[in-house]
Subunit: 621 residues, 2 copies
Amino acid sequence: MSVFFYGFLFGKENPDAFLIVTKSKKLKNKFMYIENINSPADVKKLSLAELEVLGEEMRHFLLKKLSEHGGHIGPNLGMVEATIALHYVFDSPTDKFVFDVSHQSYAHKMLTGRKDGFLNPKSYDEISGYSCPAESEHDFFEIGHTSTSISLATGLAKARDVKGDDGNVIAIIGDGSLSGGEAFEGLNNAAELNSNFIIVFNDNEMSIAENHGGMYRNLKELRDSKGSCSNNLFKAMGMDYVYVEEGNDVAVLIDAFRKVKDIDRPIVVHIHTLKGKGYAFAEQNKEAWHWGFPFNLETGESSVQPGGPDDDYACFTAGYLLRLMRLRENLVVLTAGTPTVGGFTPDKRAEAGSRFVDVGIAEEHAAAMASGLAKAGCVPVWPVYGTFIQRAYDQISQDICINKSPVVMLVFCASVYGMNDVTHLGLYDIPLLSNIPNLVYLAPTSKNDYFAMLEWAVRQKDYPVAIRVPGNGMVRLQEFPDADYDYRCYKMRKKGSRVAVLALGSFFQLGEGVVDGLKDALGIEATLINPRFITGLDADMLERLKSNHEVVVTLEDGILDGGFGEKIARFYGPSAMKVLCFGIKKAFYDRYDVNELLKDNHLTVPQIVDDVKQILEQSAC
Amino acid sequence: MSVFFYGFLFGKENPDAFLIVTKSKKLKNKFMYIENINSPADVKKLSLAELEVLGEEMRHFLLKKLSEHGGHIGPNLGMVEATIALHYVFDSPTDKFVFDVSHQSYAHKMLTGRKDGFLNPKSYDEISGYSCPAESEHDFFEIGHTSTSISLATGLAKARDVKGDDGNVIAIIGDGSLSGGEAFEGLNNAAELNSNFIIVFNDNEMSIAENHGGMYRNLKELRDSKGSCSNNLFKAMGMDYVYVEEGNDVAVLIDAFRKVKDIDRPIVVHIHTLKGKGYAFAEQNKEAWHWGFPFNLETGESSVQPGGPDDDYACFTAGYLLRLMRLRENLVVLTAGTPTVGGFTPDKRAEAGSRFVDVGIAEEHAAAMASGLAKAGCVPVWPVYGTFIQRAYDQISQDICINKSPVVMLVFCASVYGMNDVTHLGLYDIPLLSNIPNLVYLAPTSKNDYFAMLEWAVRQKDYPVAIRVPGNGMVRLQEFPDADYDYRCYKMRKKGSRVAVLALGSFFQLGEGVVDGLKDALGIEATLINPRFITGLDADMLERLKSNHEVVVTLEDGILDGGFGEKIARFYGPSAMKVLCFGIKKAFYDRYDVNELLKDNHLTVPQIVDDVKQILEQSAC
């Protein structure tokens, strides 16, 4: 299963809700239309009444697949009618659609030759959860991060104009994505195109969780006044503007899109849709149904139970931080639109009150605000996905690290065991973060390590600290680790000779296996080290290893380039010590099988033992 | 001299202009006020008439220092009155100012105990060109990148509220900086603070160059209507709003700031100022006078002559791209608010017409738009400073590299010889860019290399390419290098034995020196290699070196962590080859002396030769 998500799924409630779609009489008939849609041309052949039935069919299959497979639920259900209308009016791929973050692109996939990925369970995995040019000429980009659609689309439009080509360019973006600054950069620049450019602004009144920010008051004004209020964010950004209240009415949408088709200037079409439309559970608890694991269609119950504090780092983190908030009045937890990454489900957010700040999808702002909080004496803690922290590199470097602001960043899903869609990989954070000066990047190997590191991080004032939350499940040790992290000491876990294994973070358990394997296969009592620090070498310990070791093995759960092992290789470069670095080869991977990826990268115990054996044999020659 | 800038200085014109300030009668008197300003408390003691004289004195000394020392001219001249009024009304540091990008912070420095840095030429270098907490309790952050002030200030405001502290929080941001998305993320979130928060929006109708984007039409409407037009960007973002037309009138500004002092909600005070105010050259040619090298105060002539295509990579680049535009209709050059980085002075922008796109200070948008252009068949070329490319890491990774869009990025000032202010260092781009999959990062060593790489980059369609423009001046070779860059081959420049020197990019000439030094000192005929590729190892050549070399030396013009040398060290990790990596130690440096920094990092020929000698002696033991 593809593990694509923006927020964990917790707290599905309301067992009294009923299934709107499956109660529909129309769907008791044989499916007539969706089975015959092989391209947008087939959509154009249907009558208005038939298009409405098509919508119900699509919603039925969307729900069936999502309940069996998981995926983005709410945003896709809300965009069924608009997607039908877009393909009815415009001529894809001559007219080009760019779906922001792809959370609302499933209906588009169903209408562009990829219906089997929804109708046929055997084909579910054949299409990705994101727009994908490899699948279809109707997709132009791999997109999985928010707020980029307008900018990408302005590139398409500018190229059209430069080359003298024809066609409409249409960016489809939701109200949640609008909080990301790049969307404004895009709006500001789109308004300067003196040519066709259409932004379909899909306003379902929700981000992943609730929306946050002043502009949402203007969006409400616009909805309440049916787009007629005098103050208008889009017009203020220089765009032309129309409002469509009935964002789930195919006929109204067709009419609206026809009016802007082939327009000679940039325009925003603001459509008001219902997130989760057609599935009562999803309509009523929009956050819980933004994305979901497989679930029971009748009851809404998830097939995957959320973890507790003893088996889930997110849940443990929220519990820890909430307890700490009671003791320390200056602790503030931040999120950039993904509150549940650190376990802050709605109930826990309510408990934290004003000490929990959701800035919306705005990682740059989150990083800079955290720096401000730290400078003014607060302890800011920012739980964040590894794939999204890269959206704030400059702010982490400039605002946090140059300023030595003691911000605590908890980096989740930074692991080969994290999300496996190409846009959401957790393999690049070590080169990204660990090469920024002043930052202390810690790699816990267990719950005990993690707790001790958190304790140290929130109590010190000297460093920006990031903690790489293990991605390989929660390991608990009997032994309690030292909590002194302000000197750069690795932890010697087993003293041996000949071979030393530096097993970083979530690959520590792999290191234990390698040490056992070396004993079994070669009779070597190898040394095992928990480096704890991704940043900063323990030069003393590394130096001491030279006296009775021939080979140092490094293991890291991420790409090798720019990572931890290369620093060890540089350290030993001028010496006789042999260094073998194990990790993932630098590349983008899509929906990989984790065991295959590990095997392809020589990351199994037998492979590593064998590689070490070869080096030892070469040295002996 | 501190080399801080945002855009080179070209095209100072209008020799008929006269110096407003130095003709002022008032300044023929003995300076009375500025000499006695040791803190903001001293500002508050003056009468309105005295404050006006103070402003003229400050402007006089600003101009005197800038003409002798260089620095940001236009933005600081425009903010003199507003800064006086801010310090007159508010109580810094209890009330906290955050100056965006610091381009307009000089007057603030003059009034907060740092006047000597402007009045006394011997002290000019004692204060930085940016806000600096190490200098004064009135500065809270080191800031040199744009669009962050609102976000940083929301952190200060939130901390105040959480801790129950008092005081106003004031972010000062210019209209140019507003095009950066983070400023909107900040506005959106600031509007949610239910407490005091003041944004002084300094509208001087300019960015570094002219402004670009739809929102600037609304700002014009606001100015034209004196803030009364119905459509209002700031109100649409949820902010309260007031307009002040007389942004260079101390009395009016004092009145305006008094009205918002201690306000209980977020508000924008939109002040209309004149960039370059008080210096006719700067008022009339705002772009040329945004930042400048030292200049003749009477004539406006710069003390530094702009380079030509034979000695300046920027000028050469613009010339090359303009010629190519005539041949290829699909070439588009982009900039994010710094058009002159690639040599596009106003005349060259006019020549390029619509094929030159300035998106404003909006690096994220620039990267994504470039991807869109490439996907639709254009050849987008983006000249960009190394320090600013880090603002678009996520877009380079996601939108460009995952999508394999053949975008060409020209990375300027990425070198120890580049800008030396802590916020503008060019030392971190190799770890940042070279560890992103799919990207080809090239390091030319000469004008010839650069030209060949450019030629290849704009003609291929397979890779996103970045070229690290040499920072050590333009070197021209007799020999013309190969232009085949689509296989990963290093260039063997001199075949030798025992020691191989891999001298990357702008450190190639250092490598030549090392090879000479090894011969002189040790009689060794060392091998010299121009790696050309920062990304991708030439494994064949590296493998062949094993047969008759004992030591490989890597030289790179940037930090060592995550860089080029470490990849070489990893390659040779399992072998007997010794590797010595030379580069800069990971740290932030501020206003360094380049020769001292090189020496501190063992980057002189004698030091490197000596280090190699030691290794060879150890191996011999």
